[in-house]
């Protein structure tokens, strides 16, 4: 009985020490993750600035005209497509549009 009490006491001391050590270890881990978070946030912001610069309309227009040889649409080249059912019996649902666009993007409309 006495032996059991001593073993239990030693075990408790070990648990206590292990717990303290683990708290310190987790503390370091938290600090490391926090620093990592700060660095990642910094990188995210830098990428956001880069993304915003690259998507500036001025730059896109320059690339489109100078690199790709595109020109602004001329009169009559822009055609508005109405979504509302102007023709009885026919309708264009937004879902249909999305599907259509996706199929085209995937390499042509398929049956």
């Amino acid at each position: 009985m006495k032996m059991l009490t001593i073993v239990a006491g030693v075990m408790l001391v070990f648990v206590f020490v292990w717990e303290r050590v683990d708290v310190v270890r987790l503390g370091y881990q938290i600090e490391r993750l926090k620093s990592q978070k700060v660095l990642l946030e910094r990188e995210r912001d830098q990428l956001q600035v880069k993304f915003s610069s690259l998507t500036a309309p001025e730059r896109i227009a320059k690339v489109a005209t100078e690199k790709l040889g595109l020109v602004p649409p001329q009169q009559g080249q822009v055609l508005m497509v109405h979504q509302s059912g102007d023709v009885p019996g026919l309708s264009l649902q937004p879902v249909g549009q999305v599907r259509l666009a996706r199929h085209i993007a995937a390499g042509g409309v398929s049956e």
Binding site: D45, Q48, E58, Q75, H82, V87, L92, G96, H103
Partner: protein, 572 residues
């Protein structure tokens, strides 16, 4: 017995102890009571260090969330001259990274100071190279730097902020109280060697960033306006130019372009003249565009109808010993034609029929002589004298847009009132303010200022202004497939040397809205001092057409001649 000398020694010892304790007590009272305040302050100075942390400045985005201004943490480098052994060697290492001359760096590093900034807010790559160098006595800290990723786009509206993050111009200044991050002052303890002992939990005390602004401006529309304005100003060799595009029903500003442009990322070498937002800080005599306001007042007061006949005096009319000219000899014309042909004599007669008080009341009603109260700094109220200060010719002059100073914003606001059925809206550029978690703090809703004219008058004016584009001076503003209502304006500038109207310096403008039947855009184009042909119909109207056409396409506004197409839904 030897009690005598023993007692004497005891007394002597007691006396010595008493003296000693008295001295200690005296010193204690002096230090702890008499000099307590002074010494506590001295100790605090030695043991404590106060540092301030500031949260990142808020982001500014366009109406679709495209970022126009944001803060990024970038490296700043400092030196501790007192701990440097060889300032010249350190300066030689730093010079190629910082792009600063070795001599200049060495001079800074030789100062008798414990801290000196060497370069602030550098590129991230420079920071990485500095860390690789790992020089003793040189440190790198991260500071927030303001970036305007779109460069000059919307620069006159955005403004810019200073090195220490304070808003200096434009929205950065107007909304500084929202944009700037929380400033938190923390007291750090220092040990006997002067090393900083960071208090527990400091890492969690990151100051809250500033609020984010969402604008009414659309970056694509802004780009179209800036691109066309730059081209027009370059092509006409003009001094400057302005375009404002407004949503008539709400007063929301969709674009505000000023030429010449500037890049808010690099303002150090520019003068205020370059970053002034001329759309609301500069006044000009509007010339013929003012005839629209006079005509609306005359219709509202039933002084005129579109069919009223007005005699054009064959192009010459004498008022107060001065002669008013028209650019063509006109006889009897309808009131609609007065606007269509932009007759000065017709406008002067309309003004005289209205009378001073009524005309003044409508000028005020349309917002002239007062700020529009747009949420941007630096707006001026323009020049509108009270009738008691008018001369004998003033009534005629003001009716044709002279003797009155307006800002481009006031003029487009007045036209937007007609586009909006006679109701004037308050112009605004910020639609939302949100905190760092995205919580909505402030939502700006369209605000009615007042009704200026009836819907009937607004409709009639629209029809009359459509005539300006279909058969009048504004033909070059016509956008195929859309009905455009607008008015040209060509005003002589006053020559500051002579004080008289210049025969070479003009302001050409066009102001209008489209589609006339259901306006989506109210727009003004002002070209200041174009060289060569300076008529508003020649220099500004084509810009209106080009911008209007592209913006309407971008917004997906249907043309009158649109072929109605319907597609069948198909399941995949």
């Amino acid at each position: 017995m030897t009690a005598g000398p023993s007692r004497g020694r005891r007394y002597a010892m007691l006396f010595l102890f008493l003296c000693g304790f008295s001295i200690i007590l005296f010193r204690l009272v002096t230090l702890q009571v008499l000099q307590a305040a002074e010494l506590t302050a001295k100790a605090d100075r030695q043991h404590q260090k106060t540092v301030s942390f500031e949260g990142a400045r808020g982001t500014v985005s366009d109406r679709h969330g495209k970022v126009l201004a944001m803060n990024v943490e970038v490296p700043s480098v400092f030196g501790v001259p007192t701990s440097l052994e060889s300032p010249s060697t350190v300066a030689r290492h730093l010079s190629p990274v910082l792009h600063i001359r070795t001599g200049e760096l060495e001079r800074k590093l030789r100062q008798d100071k414990s801290f000196v900034w060497l370069a602030r807010k550098l590129e991230p790559e420079q920071g990485r190279r500095l860390e690789q160098l790992s020089l003793d006595g040189i440190g790198v800290v991260m500071e927030g730097r303001r970036f305007y990723p779109k460069g000059p786009l919307l620069a006159h509206v955005l403004g810019f902020s200073g090195m220490d993050g304070q808003g200096l111009e434009g929205l950065e200044r107007r909304y500084d109280s929202h944009l700037h991050g929380e400033k938190r002052v923390t007291v750090l303890q220092r040990d006997a060697l002067g090393r900083t002992v960071f208090p527990k939990g400091l890492a969690e005390q990151v100051p809250t960033p500033g609020h984010a602004l969402t604008l009414t401006v659309d970056e694509v529309i802004q780009y179209i306006a800036e691109k066309e304005l730059e081209e027009a100003v370059t092509h006409t060799h003009a001094k400057s130019g302005t375009i404002i595009i407004m949503e008539p029903q709400s007063g929301a500003i969709l674009a505000m372009a000023v030429s010449p442009r500037f890049d808010p990322n690099v303002v150090a070498k520019l003068t205020p003249d370059r970053w002034r937002n001329r759309a609301l800080t500069d006044t000009y005599e509007p010339g013929s565009t003012m005839k629209v306001v006079v005509a609306a007042a005359a219709l509202e007061e039933k002084v005129m109808t579109p069919g009223s006949m007005v005699f054009g005096e064959n192009g010459h009319m004498v008022i107060a010993n001065t002669t008013i000219h028209d650019h063509e000899k006109l006889g009897w014309i309808t009131f609609s034609e007065v606007i269509q042909k932009s007759s000065n004599i017709g406008a002067a007669k309309t003004g005289m029929a209205l009378g001073e008080q009524r005309l003044y009341r409508y000028l005020q009603g349309f917002g002239f002589g007062q700020r529009t109260e747009i949420d941007l700094p630096g707006e001026v109220s323009g020049l509108l004298k009270a009738p008691k200060d008018w001369g004998r010719r003033s009534l005629a002059s003001i009716s044709m847009g002279q003797e009155i100073g307006v800002t481009p914003l006031q003029m487009v606001s007045a036209l937007a009132t007609l586009a909006n059925g006679g109701v004037m809206m308050k112009p605004y550029v910020v639609s939302e303010v949100r905190d760092q978690k995205g919580l909505l703090l402030k939502e700006v809703l369209p605000q009615v200022k007042r009704r200026v004219v009836s819907p009937d008058t607004a409709r009639t004016m629209t029809t009359m202004m459509e005539g300006v584009v279909t058969n009048g001076t504004g033909a070059k503003a016509a956008i195929p497939g859309f009905r455009v209502a607008g008015k040209t304006g060509t005003a002589q500038k006053i020559d500051p040397r002579t004080g008289a109207y210049s025969s070479t310096q003009f302001v050409g403008s066009f102001v209008g809205y489209v589609p006339a039947e259901s306006p989506r855009l109210a727009m003004i184009v002002v070209i200041d001092e174009p060289q060569g042909e300076a008529w508003g119909g020649a220099v500004a109207a084509p810009v209106f057409r080009r911008v209007g056409e592209q913006v309407l396409n971008y917004l997906g506004v249907s043309r009158e001649d649109t072929v109605k197409i319907a597609l069948a839904t198909r399941d995949y």
